[in-house]
Amino acid sequence: MPPILEVEHLRTTFAQSGRTLTVVEDVSFSVEAGETLGIVGESGCGKSVTSLSIMRLLGKNAKLDGSVRFAGTDVLRLSEKEMQSIRGNRIAMIFQEPMTALNPLHPIGRQIAEPLRRHLGLSRREGAMRAVHLLKEVGIPRAEEIAAEYPHQLSGGMRQRVMIAMAMACQPQLLIADEPTTALDVTIQAQILELMKKLRREHGTAILLITHDLGVVAEMCHRVVVMYAGQIVEEADVRRLFADPRHPYTIGLLASMPSISGGQERLQAIPGAVPQLHEMPAGCRFAPRCPKAMAICREQVPELFPVSATQKCRCWLYREGGEA
């Protein structure tokens, strides 16, 4: 069975005050049906831009190259109208800030019914009924009442449930979740993660989960893509990644996290900071912070070298395809 989503050599650039900023560079990955792929990386590394590129939701100043095949068709080549019939229908999305992602002036029910009415042609009444049903499914009590309420009357966790209900409304084949729990407290995050697992189980939806929390990745994902400064630096099966990270960045990332189980006296911080978009280093983008940087790293951009069947790594250390 072919993957539901195949992103190949995606490159996203923005034209901004006369310059061109390359935010996403040569990103390729795929998501199988029913699979959950995690994208992790630090703030500003291009996670959101990648997901928005797939949905073609970036502004006019964005330019997309490469291909994004969804169920076999390259969505980058579709007309805006065709794209509209996919969005919210076959690919749905949930965002980080449940407060601001909901229209503050429309009642909850109406917002959930909107994709149903648009894509499935439901009547206002049918839409409203479906909305209540969906609210119940995501575990919202008093669903009928809540459907008539406005976002500001709900708590953060409830709002995120509403977002999920809205995204799941048309039973999409792919759900893109951009940091769905970052804004939530841990106890609420736990609830939302449970809910997502349940829906995944019941509907078999493929999920592209974007996060910067490696804990969430470990809990939710089958495979993981690590991004750094607009590029994929490592791709691996989730167990492999945590057990045997290869890229110095991934290694550093894991080491710099304080652990809930304690035991570290001092954290292994990665020195320096993420490079600015307009001053990307030539060669490997991580080289300036890399403890193992070599001469070649500062000159040539490494490819995503395969390390094993389920692991790839963008590092000159793995040039030969095996361990260095």
Partner: protein
């Protein structure tokens, strides 16, 4: 143990919020009877979910907002009894590091000015001495003198947080209240700042009151941990004790909810029902009872006092 540096007794802060017009004034019990003791040189952390009153507690302690009730003894002196001038003088010894590295630095001032200000306000040193002290400080937090002439927006989040720390430390305070100093930062940067905070503590014999909602960070940085729920401290203990043997059902649930970056681990999770209630309308009895697995009759009616369950381990629960 030595003399406490800071003792907070029965601290309350009620905000009156006008909702609706004419009379319908609601009282938000942001902090509702907090007891804390902080000893010199230690790091006491306050953890809890959003809105439970952590920041309000921190601000009350520095009297940046006027507490409604309670006693705040700093080095044995009641902060609440100070007049405006005394208070300003007292602030030399207590400083604050903020969460938001973007909002906490005045965007219209250079870093140099920002660091000079505390010295000027307290009339410390000659201009030359001040400049020297500022230059030393900026290097201590890992930046260079060149940075002094720049404006905050020219720095990354981590760098700004360093500036914020430099400003807090330039007066050589005894107590630093750090309100979520790393929660806006990326992990790799967060690690740098946590290391810095630890180094500085050692170097300047600082006492930290560390506010955070990230349990992993708290475990890393603290000596002791206080867990807050809805304006009250529900459990205080030495960090290993608290993380290994939590007593309060809320603490247990909180700890179990943290996702662990280990895909091989089976998730055994205590899932809490519902949301944090509003502090404007807290439940009667034990604040936590509506979400508690072990809720008993007494919990609905009586507020459990914070009492010692074992030496150095305080819990507010009818069970413990």
């Amino acid at each position: 143990m030595s003399q406490p540096l800071l003792e907070v007794k029965g601290l309350k802060k009620y905000f009156s919020v006008k909702s609706g017009f004419w009379g319908k004034e609601k009282v938000v019990r942001a902090v509702d009877g907090v007891h804390l003791t902080v000893y010199p040189g230690e790091t006491l952390s306050i953890v809890g979910e959003s809105g439970c009153g952590k920041s309000t507690t921190g601000r009350c302690i520095l009297r940046l907002i006027e507490p409604t009730e309670g006693e705040i003894l700093f080095q044995g002196r009641d902060i609440r009894a100070l007049n405006a001038a005394e208070l300003r003088a007292a602030r030399r010894d207590m400083q604050l590091v903020f969460q938001d590295p973007f909002a906490s630095l005045n965007p219209r001032k250079t870093v140099g000015q920002i660091l000079l200000d505390p010295l000027i306000v307290h009339g410390i040193g000659t201009p030359a001495e001040r400049r020297k002290r500022v230059e030393e400080m900026i290097e201590i937090v890992g930046l260079t003198r060149q940075h002094l002439h720049r404006f905050p927006h020219e720095f990354s989040g981590g760098q700004r947080q360093r500036i914020g720390i430099a400003r807090a430390l330039i007066l050589r305070p005894k107590l630093v209240v750090a309100d979520e100093p790393v929660s806006a930062l990326d992990v790799s940067i967060q690690a740098q700042i946590l290391n810095l905070l630890k180094d500085l503590q050692r170097e300047f014999q600082l006492t930290y009151l560390f506010i955070s909602h990230d349990l992993s960070v708290v475990r890393h940085i603290s000596d002791r941990v206080a867990v807050m729920y809805l304006g009250k401290v529900v459990e205080v203990a030495d960090k290993t004790v608290l993380y290994e043997r939590p007593i309060h059902p809320y603490t247990q649930a909180l700890l179990s909810a943290v996702p662990v970056p280990d895909p091989t681990r089976e998730v055994k999770r205590i899932l809490l029902e519902g949301d944090l209630p509003s502090p404007a309308n807290p439940p009667a009895g034990c604040q936590f009872h509506p979400r508690c697995r072990h809720c008993m009759e007494v919990c609905r009616t009586t507020v459990p006092p914070l009492k010692e369950a074992e030496p150095g381990h305080l819990v507010a629960c009818h069970l413990g």
